[in-house]
């Protein structure tokens, strides 16, 4: 049975926490931030589609998916770095 070094415990939890809560902040921003300013964004039209609509009904959802895979990759990296992987 492998052990986890004690000094790694706090460091890993801190690193993981700042990663997670940073992403949660980004998630709040792209969701409600975009919604709140969509009136302004809609004035910018890209190839026929107003930007606010384009973000809210297509892009933000794709960003959600990208965020999860980014987190999965980062979490793997953290686990290796602090030697706490399964």
């Amino acid at each position: 049975m492998k052990t986890v070094r004690k000094e790694n415990v706090e460091a890993y939890m801190k690193a993981n926490r700042s990663l997670v809560f940073g992403l949660v902040g980004f998630w709040v921003l792209i969701t409600w931030g975009t919604a709140l300013v969509s009136n302004v964004l809609n004035k910018i039209v890209i190839a026929g589609a107003p930007l606010g609509m384009f973000l809210m009904q297509q892009t933000v959802m794709v960003l959600y998916v990208a965020m999860i895979f980014y987190y999965a990759a980062k979490a793997d990296q953290l686990e290796k770095q602090y030697d706490v992987a399964e």
Partner: protein
């Protein structure tokens, strides 16, 4: 089932579906099969496929039965999770919602996808580490004892039951429309096919079946979308061609003084749009059948990517649904509005007042020309009629029925598995008879599945309209009960049983209270109005204008505050519970703290 592999299975299913469509098109062209037989072939063909899959992957081991032995690769677990999540309301109804609500429909798009981000970041890996089967399992481990488990089981049962009934209603409606059967017969068919699938399998069988159901529903949705995209813009890639159609729609609306569909908060107020996004997202985490899916992957690492795949497969349908709504609107503006009544296209007449009654048009000013104001479209019509609008063969339309069925049945399967687990595992095994054998637990779960689905199907027979509203409420209730208990429980060590339990109770009371007041209370008469439509306008009870489906806007903060305050006023959780939380945050299986490696 050694000779089966997930990739081979998925690819052969896709090829099989496409070949069937082509074959049926030729047969139809040669006059060998009619519309009705095409509907029947897709409908019963896919149900037989699901049942066969359930049978071939059947299992006797308890871990296999409930969580598929934790061996499902994350990509396929994601597919299963996506069809588990999307019901007929997503597959058949989402485009229609966007068509009607325009920009504000994004509340549903974002609300039903964004919750998965929170799930991946805050919940899934930690719950997987705990090796719990259900949310009540987590509540028991974290808050210790029967109270937490009992409250959890009751909430889970209530939410699942409310959610299950409209699934049976959806199948009844689809069967009626595509097979020409009565609604009641459709509900009965749904009941039989769902029981067929679960009875032979369990979660392991359900996983295979749900993968197949995702493949069926996404193909049924995408093929007509490619068709209408090509027809409108000459570009078959809908997510690119979408913008061009949008431009035409905007120009038409400007020329005709129609409130633009891209205008934010024109059809739902800003507070309600933002509030609904919040309730649906946060509620996603609380819905037990969603969490359970992420117990089935082999490792903690895969639980994270599995949520990613799941959301990817959901988003694929949702971004397509919003595109489809725009293409249909473009078609209506360009081809239908301004057309002569005696020259309306055939699909319009088929779905119109003399046909399926999903479109209503009437020459109000008797000028022989259809004006925009003379047209009313039912939301479900958008998806169902797309193949005909795009001039595709009837075989493609027939497949949409199978797609809607796939979505509804897979959600039923997921819900029933959770119900069965909650009763047989959480109540029977953990509380009533701790010494029960595996065979007994599985036996009881099968009995429960039969009883619960029969009751739900019976309840669905009378088409209670209130049930559809209750599904929306279920999200607020889930958000206001489970979400704080799970998320604070994992991230704030100081949360104790007293705090979490009183938080759940207060959250539930506040949410239910607001729903009751906002939906049923008439301010003018000062009395509750239990039957008929909800009080509207000046009669309606509102705090800051929030409508009943956004009740979680009050319930979630109430729960969070109460949990926080009560936890601080009462003693901190025991040391072993605090150690458990630390342990959950570490992926390594058995963690022992050491001074050196």
């Amino acid at each position: 089932m050694k000779e089966f592999s997930y990739p081979r299975f998925t690819i052969s299913l896709i090829v099989g579906l496409l070949v069937t469509v082509v074959l049926l098109t030729f047969l139809e062209g040669a006059g060998l099969v009619g519309y009705r037989s095409i509907g029947l072939i897709f409908f019963f063909g896919t149900i037989l496929l699901y049942a066969a899959l359930g049978y071939m992957t059947s299992t006797r081991k308890v871990a296999d039965y409930f969580v598929a032995g934790r061996t499902v690769p994350s990509l396929y677990n994601g597919m299963a999770g996506a069809s588990n999540w999307m019901s007929a309301a997503s597959v058949i109804g989402m485009s229609g919602t966007i068509y009607l609500l325009g920009f504000d429909g994004a509340a549903y798009l974002l609300g039903w996808t964004g919750g998965y981000v929170l799930l991946a970041l805050l919940v899934a890996p930690y719950i997987r580490k705990l090796k719990a089967y259900t949310v009540p399992d987590f509540l028991d481990a974290r808050y210790g004892g029967r109270y937490a488990r009992t409250v959890g089981v009751i909430c889970a049962l209530a939410m699942n039951f409310v959610y299950l009934i409209p699934q049976f209603m959806g199948v009844g409606m689809i069967a009626g429309r595509f097979l020409g059967l009565s609604y009641q017969a459709g509900v009965f068919i749904a009941l039989v096919s769902v029981l067929f699938c679960v009875y032979f399998g369990g979660m392991r069988g359900v996983t295979w079946t749900q993968v197949a159901q995702y493949v069926v529903l996404i193909i049924a949705f995408l093929i007509p979308l490619f068709g209408i995209s090509f027809m409108r813009t000459g570009n078959p890639i809908p997510w690119l061609a979408w913008a061009e159609s949008m431009g035409r729609v905007a120009a038409f609306e400007q020329a005709n003084n129609i409130t633009p569909i891209v205008q934010p908060f024109a059809r739902m107020s800003m507070a309600n749009t933002l509030g609904l996004i919040f309730c649906l997202m946060v509620g996603t985490i609380g819905l037990p059948h969603v969490l359970t899916r992420f117990y089935t992957v082999p490792s903690i690492r895969e639980s994270r990517t599995s949520v990613g795949w799941c959301l990817l497969f959901i988003v694929l349908l949702y971004i397509s649904a919003s595109a489809k709504a725009i293409f249909v609107r473009d078609t209506i503006y360009t081809d239908i509005v301004g057309a002569r009544y005696d020259q309306l296209p055939k699909w319009m007449r088929d779905w119109g007042p003399e046909g399926m009654k999903l479109v209503n048009y009437e020459d109000k000013n008797a000028d022989g020309i259809l004006q925009f104001g003379e047209l009313r479209m039912h939301a479900d019509m958008i998806v169902i009629s797309t193949p005909e609008i795009a001039g595709m063969p009837y075989a493609v339309s027939g497949m949409i029925g199978a797609g809607g069925m796939a979505a509804a049945i897979s959600t039923c399967l997921g819900l029933l598995m959770v119900l069965a687990t909650a009763v047989s595992h959480d109540i029977y095994k953990k509380m009533l008879r701790p010494g029960a054998t595996e065979a007994q637990v599985i036996f009881w779960s099968k009995i429960i599945i039969v009883v619960v689905s029969a009751i739900s199907a019976l309840a669905a027979l009378s088409r209670p309209a209130i049930i559809v509203e209750m599904v929306a409420w279920a999200f607020s209730i889930a958000a206001a009960t489970f979400f704080p208990a799970v998320v604070l429980g994992l991230w704030w060590r100081r949360t104790n049983a007293q705090g979490a339990l009183s938080g759940m109770v207060v959250g539930l009371v506040v949410t239910l209270g607001y729903i009751l007041m906002a939906r049923f209370f008439n301010v003018t008469t000062g009395a509750f109005q239990w039957s008929g439509p909800a009080p509207a306008g000046a009669d309606a009870f509102r705090i800051w204008g929030f409508i009943p489906i956004t009740a979680g806007v009050f319930g979630v903060p109430a729960n969070l505050i109460v949990t926080y305050v009560v936890s601080l006023l009462t003693p901190a959780p025991k040391q072993e519970i605090q150690d458990l939380i630390t342990e959950l945050h570490f992926p390594r299986a058995t963690m022992t703290l050491g001074e050196g490696a």
